[in-house]
């Protein structure tokens, strides 16, 4: 019993350490916090960052800084924005963990992904 408690303690300490590292990264939510938010910038025909890791429950907002319209469309159509003109935004809240590959359906060479933990 004592041993079990000790292991649990190590696991919890480890988890706390992991969480503290995680929260130092932008866009990663602390467990049990208010729903977090994160941003993806669209600049020069690319999504930045190309891979964004967030906690489940995070709302990700894309903003188009280009002079041409772009879209944000997940490969499996989980989310799909309308055409975003300059300065337009699109948001989606990720509730389920997983890897979400997405692209711009106007310029399909633009690809990126959101990893939800």
């Amino acid at each position: 019993m004592k041993k079990t408690r000790w292991i649990l303690g190590v696991v919890l300490t480890g988890l706390a350490a992991f969480t503290s590292i995680a929260v130092t990264q932008p866009g990663v939510a602390k467990a049990g916090d208010q729903p977090a938010s994160a941003e993806v910038k669209i600049d020069n025909f690319s999504f930045g960052p190309p891979t964004l890791t967030v906690a489940a429950g995070t709302t990700v907002t894309w903003k188009n800084n280009d002079d041409v319209p772009h879209t944000v469309v997940s490969d499996d159509k989980v989310f799909k924005s309308k055409a975003l003109d300059t300065d337009d935004k699109f948001s989606y809240t990720f509730t389920k963990p997983g890897t979400y590959n997405y692209f711009c359906s106007v310029h399909p060479k633009m690809t990126a992904k959101i990893v939800v933990k």
């Binding site: 020069n44 025909f45 041409v68 359906s105 106007v106 399909p108 060479k109």
Partner: protein
């Protein structure tokens, strides 16, 4: 290794320098005469030394492209005005074009009012008819429904169509729909099958003109300047002795010859884009105001019966 401008043409009297002038990125102008599938190319400056009548044929038509009505950013705050200048240029041609091809991106954001402005502007074109294919900017959010309703009369599928004039078979193709993540322009199986049927009854000597928005050759795939299944389309047309491909999308003139196929891209009437790889992205390129009109333009094409020659002349708005 770049895949563009790979071939020079022998025995055409054009030296490498002249050839490169013809390939000029930035709309300085080129005249290309296609005879029996062989292209002769001249820099526009050389063309001026020829008699205009040398290039006059039985049929002439004009290609305009990438009007982007609705765009109002620094690269050109007044795209309606420059479209108007392009129209004036067409109307001033010594031989009025039998028809005009618009190779897509009529609008910037597929908005009804943008289509309205485009249609209203083009009413002043002195020509019998305008044929359109959509660009990716014309099919945003509605898969091109509004475009087809207004500009795709008589078209099939996503807007593809064909017609015959003066013994030439013209085919308008759509390669801006159902684009796949990581991919390029796409024609799709349904359209490829239609194309095969469409040309099946034609004699191999029939000159073919294909027009579509995104280039039907690998101009610069890193920027999406190409079409995934274009080679399939062209391989189905192998038996034809003369194929001319007219595209837009890249907002600059470029040319390439591969066997019997001559590829040509037109200038935009709205704003220039950078040369392949010469900027961080292919977005609108801001140039000094006094340079803009040198980088916008129209393309005039003449067909000479008997010799099966097509003369392609780009001219700028400057």
């Amino acid at each position: 290794m770049s895949r563009f401008i790979e071939k020079n043409l022998e025995k055409d009297g054009v030296d490498r320098r002249g050839f490169l002038k013809c390939m000029a990125w930035a709309g300085t102008g080129a005249l290309c005469v296609l005879k029996g599938g062989v292209l002769k190319s001249y820099a526009l400056s050389d063309v001026m030394q020829h008699n205009v009548g040398d290039f006059k044929g039985d049929l002439s038509f004009v290609q305009i492209s990438d009007s982007h009505i609705g765009f109002d950013k620094a690269a050109n705050p007044d795209v309606t005005a420059t479209l108007g200048e392009a129209i004036a240029k067409v109307n001033a041609l010594p031989t009025p074009p039998a028809f005009v091809l618009h190779t897509g991106d009529l609008t910037h954001l597929s908005k009804p009012e943008e289509f309205d402005t485009l249609a209203e502007s083009l009413k002043s074109l002195k020509t019998e008819r305008i044929f359109y294919v959509p660009g990716e900017h014309d099919v945003l959010d509605d898969n091109g429904a509004m475009f087809r309703e207004r500009f795709g009369q008589g078209a099939m599928g996503d807007g593809w169509h064909s017609f015959d004039r003066n013994g030439i078979h013209f085919v308008g193709l759509v390669n801006v729909m159902n684009l796949k993540a990581g991919g390029l322009g796409s024609l799709g199986n349904e359209q490829l099958e239609w194309l095969q049927k469409d040309v099946s009854g034609l004699k191999s000597s029939t000159p073919i003109v294909l027009f579509a928005h995104i280039p039907l050759w690998a101009v610069y795939p890193q920027w999406g300047w190409g079409t995934d299944d274009s080679e399939q389309a062209l391989s189905n047309l192998k038996r034809f002795g003369s194929i001319t491909v007219l595209n837009g999308h890249i907002h600059q003139t470029m040319q390439k010859v591969e066997g019997n196929v001559t590829f040509h891209t037109a200038c935009s009437t709205a704003f220039p884009q950078p040369q392949p790889g010469q900027a961080d992205s292919p977005g609108p390129m801001k140039v000094p105001d006094d340079k803009l009109r040198q980088l916008l333009g129209i393309t005039d094409v003449n067909f000479v019966r008997g010799t099966h020659s097509l003369a392609v002349v780009d001219s700028t708005l400057a």
